[in-house]
């Protein structure tokens, strides 16, 4: 081929597009089907390019925080990255809570922000903010694109970094002039990052050491977390195989619920501050702890220097920075959970490992004794709806369907985590690390976008839900029949509980003296409003909620003074659980404990 011919061929390979067109093209090349967003001056060119596009659905939210939480719900229920498009300035700053939430819970998000034109950056221009500066500590990585010829590469890198290794949110900040300029578009296949190489393959030496510890264990326990969910459905399947092969008990963090079926007899329930008695005691007394995809969070460990004092600890995590961060471990494994679990099973089988059956039998006997405490029990009432009862009925009346649960943050979240039985991964979406009130409603919208025919329920509190209530309008616009099931106790329940336990019953500003009429509010949005005030009417109302094919706000009036138990008080250890507020067993909270959140 002569030189001219070569040039012609190269020219054909290079596609010239405007920056805005590149964004759309890159999203399509990355397989994106839905984006959540809110337009504004600095992203108008991208919205213009989106106008006539087919195969890419934009969901208009009512606030950028809602858009990011919706994308989180979408991501967590599908395993695919959530994509968000917002404008500069307030558009970007409103996204910060969602970005931080996604960073804490390792949720893959690609958030595109508009920015003022490059020549205006630093001029305090209208709707200008230092987006990369503000979002640097709340993203896995971020970019400001100042050359249109870098844009497609950066977008593809953004998807790679968000979705691989330990997943997380990324931000690509795109100035408005870059959206108009034309440049060369490259496809995803031609992009390879200079430095980013996440380690996913386990070292076999540490796998073998882990297997040895497990085979010799007398009182083992699996402690699993959100890392199993993030590693994909195969990791959950392998976890089930390993747990059943060994016969060991298993507990999980808030983030890990669903990776192991809650109906299985080896399941001990959730652990941690509001975990079950048997899960926390098993953690405290075990001799071998197998931590898979969890990070020894303070809500899990309780008092750190009294945490599981006599155990050897195996810790699998894809993020090397989690190893020895809060708790020193004996066998670290830095790898993708599915890959590591596969090797663990392989070596267990090929080395013909056997568990210490007599010791395990005694261990299970001990665990059954703890189970006998029935730490999730509560006093039922005929006159007032107990929040625990409401969750139990919601579970029973929906268990024959595919149901996705999101939550807000507080007592209702803990009751949902304790009582709703999850059988598979990706069906439980809750704000674990950041504890973001207002997460659940928009998250349920994202879940429903991804699963139009499923039953999607936000188990909410009346305080949290008011933080992002405006997204009911989004649900109406797109015909998303989400069910917002509000446990309305008129208090910020968890705040009230802590004020009762730690601050002498001085309920400073935790009671909402004026609440909206949620039924009328639902009607104002065009949704369906339902209310239940007595235990006897609950079942019928829940059935009505399920049967309505429209968004529902369900005002479930519950006992305002109910506390969430069991509980490990701040600064206490796993074996110092409080099972109820019935009388003398309520301990004094230490001065040190009061300092903790």
């Amino acid at each position: 081929m002569d030189k001219d011919g070569m040039m012609n061929r190269l020219a054909e390979d290079v596609v010239t597009l405007s920056g805005a067109e590149m964004v759309i093209r890159a999203l399509k090349d990355q397989g994106v089907a839905h984006i959540f967003g809110y337009p504004g001056g600095a992203v108008l060119p991208i919205y213009d390019a989106l106008f006539a596009v087919e195969g890419l659905t934009h969901v208009l939210c009512r606030h950028e925080q809602g858009a990011v939480h919706a994308a989180e719900g979408y991501a967590r229920s599908t395993g695919k990255p959530g994509v968000v498009l917002v404008t500069s300035g307030p558009g970007a700053t409103n996204a910060v809570t969602g970005l931080t939430d996604a960073l804490m819970d390792s949720i893959p998000l690609v958030v595109l922000t508009g920015q003022v034109a490059t020549h205006l950056i630093g001029n305090d221009a209208f709707q200008e903010c230092d987006t990369v500066g503000i979002t640097r500590p709340c993203t896995k990585h971020n970019w400001l694109v100042k050359d249109v010829n870098d844009l497609s590469r950066v977008l593809h890198e953004a998807f790679q970094i968000a979705t691989t290794g330990r997943p997380g949110p990324v931000v690509v900040d795109i100035p408005k002039d870059i959206q108009f300029k034309k440049g060369a578009y490259v496809g995803p296949e031609s992009v390879s990052h200079r430095t980013y190489r996440p380690k996913t393959e386990p070292e076999l030496g540490s796998i073998v050491r882990a297997i040895e510890l497990m085979a010799a264990a007398e009182r083992p326990v699996f402690y699993t977390g959100g890392g199993i969910i993030n590693a994909g459905p195969e990791a959950s399947r392998l976890l089930r195989e390993l747990v059943r092969t060994t016969g060991f008990p298993i507990t999980s963090t808030l983030m890990g619920l669903g990776a192991y079926p809650a109906s299985d007899p080896q399941w001990l329930g959730m652990l941690g501050m509001h975990g079950t008695y048997e899960a926390n005691l098993a953690m405290h007394d075990c001799d071998v702890m197998i931590c898979l995809g969890a990070r020894f969070d303070d809500r899990v460990t309780g008092k750190i220097d009294a945490f599981s004092p006599n155990s050897k600890k195996i810790h699998l995590d894809i993020d090397a920075a989690q190893i020895n961060k809060n708790v020193r471990v004996d066998v670290p494994i830095v790898a993708d959970a599915a890959k590591a679990l596969k090797e663990m099973l392989h070596f267990w089988k090929t080395q013909r490992r056997k568990v210490n059956a007599p010791a395990l039998k005694d261990w299970w006997k001990q665990i059954e004794e703890w189970r006998g405490k029935k730490s999730l029990s509560y006093r039922q009432s005929n006159s007032v709806i107990k929040p625990q009862y409401a969750i139990d009925r919601l579970y029973e009346l929906t268990r024959d369907r595919e149901v996705f649960i999101t939550t807000e943050v507080g007592q209702h979240q803990m009751w949902a985590a304790q009582r709703f039985k999850f059988e598979g991964p990706n069906h439980w979406m809750t704000s674990g690390g950041l504890g973001t009130m207002g997460y659940g409603l928009p998250a349920s919208i994202g879940v429903q976008v991804a699963h139009p025919d499923a039953l999607v329920i936000d188990i909410a509190g009346e305080a949290s839900v008011q933080m992002t209530m405006q997204e009911m309008s989004t649900a109406m616009q797109y015909g998303l029949p989400v069910k917002i099931f509000i446990l309305n106790n008129q208090y910020m329940g968890m705040v009230r509980q802590w004020q009762q336990l730690l601050h002498g019953g001085r309920y400073s500003h935790s009671y909402s003296e004026a609440l909206p009429d949620f039924v009328k509010m639902a009607e104002a949005f065009g949704c369906v409003g339902l209310r239940a005030e007595k235990p006897g009417e609950l079942d019928d109302k829940i059935r009505e909620m399920i049967d309505v094919k429209r968004p529902v706000l369900f005002d479930c009036r519950v006992d305002p003074k109910e506390n969430c138990y069991p509980m490990i008080y701040s600064g206490a250890a796993h074996n110092e659980m409080v099972l109820s507020d019935a009388g003398d067993e309520t301990p004094e909270v230490t001065e040190e404990g009061k300092m903790l959140v």
Binding site: R136, L144, R194, T195, Y196, P309, D319, A321, R328, D330
Partner: protein
Amino acid sequence: MNTIADKRTRRHTIAVLVDNEAGVLARVVGLFSGRGYNIESLTVAEVDATAHTSRITVVTSGTPDVIEQIEAQLRRLVPVHRVVNWTTDKPGVEREMALVKVAGQGDKRVEAMRISQVFRARVVDTTHTSFVFEITGGPDKVDNFIDLMRPLGLVDVSRTGVAAISRGPEAM
């Protein structure tokens, strides 16, 4: 407990090789401030213009647990190529340069000059009432020199922070 944790705080010199892209220094510095780690000194410059790499040398202090976390958190940053701890990973040599201004007359001026010769400091500016010394050495040597100048009319100090490199033929 699994191990008796070593709670002793020690000074560490850590080199971070990064892609020379916008904001990379802010990522490193933000990591230290955001997670409550201390920076005692910081030295940054591009070291390879064709490869677009910069080298950041951080002197920090902490218990072994804290230092392990600092290194792991640094490795997590996307534009980071390599992280090496010259205090624990492999032996390195480190040097720092300082410009030290001393003002005074009479015996104190003579004594400042005499001490500067002991430390092999160079005089890079002089007036009838002042010297500016350039001193190079490990941070301890620079500290000592500054301490000795204090009673002799020390008025100003500017330090570069530490540059460090491994002993022997290998690169970082």
